[in-house]
Amino acid sequence: MFENFFKADIPGELISSLIVIGIIAILSIIVGILAARQNPLKKPKGLLLVAEIGVKFFDNFSRDLVGTTLPNFGGFIMGVAMYLFISFIFGLTGLPSPVTYMAIPLSLGLTTFLLIHYTSARFTKWAYFKRYIDPIPIFLPINLISMWAPLLSLTLRLFGNAIAGWALLTIVEYALRDLSGMVFSFMQTEWNQVFLAPIPLAILHAYFDVFSGLIQTFVFILLTSIFIGQEIPEDIDLNTLERRKKQ
């Protein structure tokens, strides 16, 4: 049954995406066990302290941008942010980074896109369809086209950043390899190609993987929160929702 399991033609990026998900799952399980054992009266330290700072940061972030209407939204953006940042810096290991495979930014963008429409339909009920004929009904075709703009911009921003950094690093890598081969050609071995690359590539990796990854992760969760937050009407909060449920 499983003899062909490892021969499947899966792209390497999807396998590294599974590894990233595994890392996050193991980290979350460790933090969960630590949090369950911790005495709540004592100060947290180590990994638990980092986790608490992270959770607090994302909770404040979601409360500022989305409001208290969606109380669990901080958890969602924390998951997305952890996945995206670890995916971006996963290129440092030498394995392919998951963000350079178009399906993965597309599925993240699709999640945001579906959440925007779900939130809008949940809070405005049938008035949801009013957004397609916004000022006057003649705007229907324009609105039908412009509704895809958030999906496209989110997807292409992530994918473009990742693929641009990857392409530049690959070009520099090949150029430094050949240059080193020329400069150290007196060594008469294949190993004369490895001398020039390490230091410039370390600096470029620090910029394109770590710094750019951090900025793009933050931009992604910022745009997701703003897009979803503007679908929630101003006058709705948790109390009115509960009252509506009781009626």
């Binding site: 292409l156 641009a164 900025i215």
Partner: protein, 74 residues
């Protein structure tokens, strides 16, 4: 493989980074203006400036993506 017309198309597509660079310069100029007027806002303005730069860069990255796709796809 890549013909000469593809290279020309990639060169035209990369022209889109020009207005994006101008926009990024405007962002930095106005952030520096604000920083020099009230220096106690320096930290907040720098964070917002980096975020705005990343948002403005997006259009440049679309052009770069398109020209990379033209050059490297068969």
């Amino acid at each position: 493989m890549t013909g000469s017309l593809n290279v020309l198309a990639a060169a035209i597509a990369i022209l889109g980074v020009m207005p994006s660079a101008l926009g990024e310069g405007l962002v930095c100029a106005h952030a520096l203006d604000g920083m020099s007027r009230n220096p106690e806002m320096y930290g907040k303005l720098r964070t917002s400036m980096i975020l705005a730069c990343a948002l403005v860069e997006t259009t440049a990255i679309y052009s770069l993506l398109i020209s990379i796709l033209i050059l490297f796809t068969k």
